[in-house]
């Protein structure tokens, strides 16, 4: 086995037992007394996971590591996760390597129902609760108690803020969490400091398409009737104001195909990506991209044939993200990195979850890893480490 010394500390979030005990200064190397601004220069040249290992060297380096946190790193694939054992396996596109994180006692969690940047949304069924976990730091934040029998059934969760205040490193109790239930008929909202979840929207005759995105301070989702729902939250009670607009798209697909919709925040634009699968094989054949354009009193989906320069799209049911291929090495531009994470709440599934890179110009699909990431039956999740 690999060295157990390659370790990071678990950081308890909101924990009151801050270790304030005397620090033994025996036999210090001069390197741990380097002026902070120089140590910061060194840290700024480190990527992931070197930065985590840097922070595990000694106390003084750890304090610099804690100070100098960059918001996010290279996108990765979380391809193996045993929540009960607390094991996470990541594949990095940057150095084409696999990394593991092991948490001693595991999380007593059955399902991962969401991911947002570096946070996973996990369910703890016995406690009728959800919690947020940053596997890279061990930071854990509890969501309000769900006093309902279908607690297990959130299938899509998004965070509107960071669950941790980056300055104080305490829980950000104002962080808003939005969730869709299993049948995508209810929009549930809470803040981390609230006593409970609230159902802010409920559909009777139709349902949402399972996509939910936060874009320019509003929540966007699509319903089965093709309506775009634009939801603003206001006031201390998070009152929801809904604007519903029917926006037609010009797309005809054959009867042998089915489509899935994704909404993606792409910097200044909101994109709708339609994934077309062959019904017989359940395999993706093509992606079609639309950009939302708002003219006064009118919304339009405009077909886009390419991504902006040097951009790649990470597409998933749990979270999607557009990234710069110049900023992050090892990625192909004008491509869609896709995964099939909608079956997450079913734990392990029999069919092989589909993954790959779709070249938008050529329409060719290639695998994104040169070797098989074992095991093969867990849906891959996009995750962007932050520490």
């Amino acid at each position: 086995m690999a060295s157990r010394n390659s370790a990071v500390f678990m950081r308890e979030v909101g924990s009151s037992s801050s270790p304030n005990r005397e620090m033994k200064m025996a036999d210090h190397s001069r390197w741990s007394e380097l002026p902070n601004h120089i140590t910061e220069m060194i840290v700024n040249r480190l990527g992931f996971p070197d930065i985590i290992r840097f922070g595990a060297v000694c106390r003084s380096w750890r304090s610099v590591y804690t100070e100098v946190r960059r918001p996010r790193y290279h996108p990765m694939v979380l391809y193996e996760y045993n929540l009960q054992k607390g094991t996470f396996g990541f594949y990095s596109f940057e150095d084409k390597k696999v990394y593991w994180i092991n948490v001693r006692d595991g999380y007593q969690s059955r399902h991962c129902v969401g991911s947002c940047e570096s946070w996973l949304v996990l369910s703890s069924p016995y406690l009728r609760n959800y919690f947020l976990l940053n596997p890279f730091t061990g930071a854990r934040v509890e969501c309000p108690y769900v006093n309902r029998p279908d607690v297990d059934l959130f299938t899509k969760v998004i965070l509107l803020d960071s669950p941790i205040d980056l300055t104080t490193k305490e829980t950000n109790y104002y962080c808003t969490v939005v969730a869709l239930n299993l049948f995508s008929t209810e929009l549930n909202i809470c803040r981390l400091g609230d006593a409970r979840w609230n159902v802010v929207l409920k559909l009777d005759r139709e349902h949402f398409l399972g996509c939910l995105v936060y874009f320019k301070n509003k929540i966007y989702t699509l319903s089965t009737s093709g309506e775009l729902w634009i939801i603003s939250l206001s006031g201390p009670m998070l009152r929801a104001t809904v604007e519903k607009v029917l926006v037609q798209i010009n797309l005809t697909i054959g009867l042998e195909f089915q489509k899935e919709c994704y909404l993606v925040e792409a910097e200044d634009y909101l994109l709708m990506v339609i994934r077309i699968k062959r019904k017989s094989t359940k395999k993706t054949v093509r992606f079609v991209i639309f950009k939302l354009v708002q003219n006064p009193g009118e919304y339009k989906w405009i077909r886009e044939y390419n991504l902006p320069d040097d951009r790649a799209l990470f597409l998933g049911r749990l979270c999607s993200r557009i990234v710069s291929t110049t900023e992050y090495g090892g990625l192909q531009e004008n491509s869609i990195y896709f995964t099939d994470d909608k079956l997450l709440h079913k734990a392990r599934v029999s069919e092989y979850p589909e993954t790959g890179i779709y070249n938008i110009r050529s329409g060719i699909i290639t695998p994104y890893h040169s070797f098989d990431l074992y095991p093969f039956d867990l849906p891959h999740i996009w995750i962007t480490p932050s520490v």
Binding site: S3, A7, V57, R59, W100
Partner: protein, 184 residues
């Protein structure tokens, strides 16, 4: 090019000579020179006599130019350089030779242990020699990349000062290929 000589005194009272143009690679020295306080010797109480020659060697190589060293430190020539119609291939070749030569020089120059690295880094910081500071910082970063905390501690001669309780609470991040590469 004729140049005024400047004298620097190390913390252990040894005096070294340097050309003014070379000394200008250091912001600190440049300010002293421009401030007109050049009568006699500049004392450098934070730089010892075993590091100062090393600093002078760097300044001689980079005297008068503060910018280009950074380019080298960041990986040399730009691979994606756009080829323009009036692109001078010969000039580019000469530039490439110059960059290669400088890289080779830097490689040899930077061949020392962590103790010298530490002192040189602090000297570059104190004398405000940005290129040298970048170079030393990059070397330190390269001694961290791809290594376990244990290997990093060994590289820098640092002892872990975490308590056993803290070690107990550790989350482990492991590199799948540690098995093969950890002990090379």
């Amino acid at each position: 090019m004729s140049s005024t000589k400047i004298f620097l005194k190390s913390s252990d009272d040894k005096t070294f000579e340097i050309d003014e143009t070379a000394a200008r690679a250091s912001e600190t020295l440049k300010n002293i020179i421009d401030g007109g306080c050049l009568d006699g010797v500049i004392p450098l109480p934070n730089v010892s006599s075993n590091i100062l020659p090393k600093v002078i060697e760097y300044c001689k190589k980079h005297g008068g130019d503060n910018g280009s060293s950074k380019k080298i430190a960041n990986g040399g020539v730009d691979k994606d350089k756009e080829i323009l119609p009036d692109y001078d291939e010969e000039e580019d070749k000469r530039e490439k030779v110059r960059v290669d030569e400088l890289k080779k020089w830097e490689e040899e120059y930077m061949d020392f242990d962590q103790q010298v690295l530490y002192d040189l880094m602090l000297a570059a910081n104190y004398l405000h020699i940005k290129g040298l500071l970048d170079l030393t910082v990059e070397k330190a970063a390269s001694m961290i990349r791809g290594r376990t905390p244990d290997q990093i501690r060994e590289n820098f001669n640092i002892n872990s000062d975490f308590t056993p309780e803290e070690e107990e609470e550790m989350i482990l991040i492991e590199d799948e290929w540690d098995d093969e590469w950890a002990f090379d």
